[in-house]
Amino acid sequence: MSHEGHYREAHPLIFVVTHWINLVCMIGLAFTGFYIHYPFFAGFMYGARAIHFLLMFVIIINLACRIILAFWVKTANQLGTRETDIDLKNWLPQKENKYQFMETVKYYTFFRNTRVISAKYGALQKIAYLATPIITLFMAYTGFALYTPAHSWAIWPFFAAGVSFFGGAMGIRIAHYFGMWVVILFTMVHAYLAAIDGFKPLWGLIFLWRETPGDEH
């Protein structure tokens, strides 16, 4: 468990909400996606597709909101502080992250024993949180390329290019399917690290918006 306090400034309520929406959408999309891939019980295809098609819009709108809010909502700029700065700056790599990538890798592979100095997030976390929008956009792009109504949209040529890039309709379906596994892997590692780095304070803050004071040293 880390020593820092976990204050609401790290994740203002609105970001707790966007995080919840991300989580619910991803679970819903992965479940219905698995079902669409291989309907493992009878009678739910219409429902699975309807839910997939609803949640895909929700997650994209949520991502857009999260990115726009990053430009003007202020969040804690370091671990264990109430001092805030524009969220975007804390989302992108900060100066404390510099030179720390390999050290963080060493820490997690047990090649060093003290935790590394990080900024609001560690170097690996920063990469992961920058990768989330990219993988979500990748899912949106490949997903809309599979979405039949998109064929009649004016921007269809934009998706058609991807279809031929992946070698046709089957290729892009497989790309979308593999994308799901990337999301699953991200979520596994992400939730695991949050759990070992402090299950109660971190999960409590991001899901229940509950503060944990730091150790008094």
Partner: protein, 395 residues
Amino acid sequence: MAQEARAEFTELLAARGVSRRDFLKYCGSVAALLGMSEMYAPQIAAAVGKLQPALWMAHGLCTGCTESMAQVDNPDVPTVVLDLLSVNYWETVMAAAGTQAEDNVAATVAAGGYVLIVEGSVMLGENGNVLRIGGKPGIEELKTVAAKAAAVIAVGSCAVDGGWVAGAPNIANATGVSKFLKDSGINVPVINLPTCPVNPEWVVAMLVDVLLMGELADGSILKKLDDMGRPKLIFGSTIHDNCPRRGHFENGEFVVFGSPTQAADEAAGWCLYQMGCKGPTTQTNCPLVRWNHRSSWCVEAGSPCIGCGNANPITGGPGNWFDASAPFLTRHADVRLPGIGGVQPSTIGAVVGGVAAVGLVAHGLGSAAKGRVKGVPTETQKVHDAKMASKGGDK
């Protein structure tokens, strides 16, 4: 086939048991296939009587497409129309042989203005000597004949992108006609009609479009093709969207291999998605036009669609329908991994996911063993900064 046949076209039809009424009805269906009003039927009927010459060249093929053109026990209208087309060369069905046949080709090429129909893949292997025609490499023959053609119709998947002949590992180095002609610098409009074999109704419809409706001359035919060179009207919507089993798909009623109710579910016409149906990723109008006198088609007959209407004429090889659909009875195509071969994407996903889960559990145990769960002190200075400081101290 002699030109004078044109004059007595209707009599010829009658002689083969096709009434003028049947013929007009058929022309109406051709009009519908071309997206025109059925009012065009008489115009099409009149035009069919004065068809231009055509050559039907056979390359790397199984003759399935020719077989498909003759799909019937007693001649139906499309077969008769094709029979009476002035096809000056058609290896499998022509009476001429040897030099006489070669001369027919030479005369047609010299006259120009003909439509070239190509069946079969272009086999580039062994410098084109995998297939030799008239004593020359097949690809040389194709270049000569295509250069003077008014238009090329590539019939069947093989001619479109190499088809199954080009399926991995493609030892004959097969490719499609449009890619080959483009690479050879021969600039002639190519209309691609994939599926294995080709549907004869599409061939007739395209001949009518190209030759009769003047759409080649004014270039409007090209606007009717998609980026794969396929007529949008035929290849514009997925099989899945027009499938008679679609209701069962939406209801989640699937035929499953080896399930206790498989026979009953098949009899009830349930959806073949779980049997590997490629209908959702295949764009053709098979469910509407169907096959063999419009009597049935793959999915109606109980077989999952194997996706033979997919095409990749742009790269002309990898990613063609065969590679994009095999194995036919699984939901996804195999992904080809070097040194391992074809693997299902779900296997890859499960293996990677499983390895990651095991890795995380191992990491968790490691962390517990190292006592990290209780909390780990943070360094007071970055390793990098410490190094820089010691270097600075040396100076």
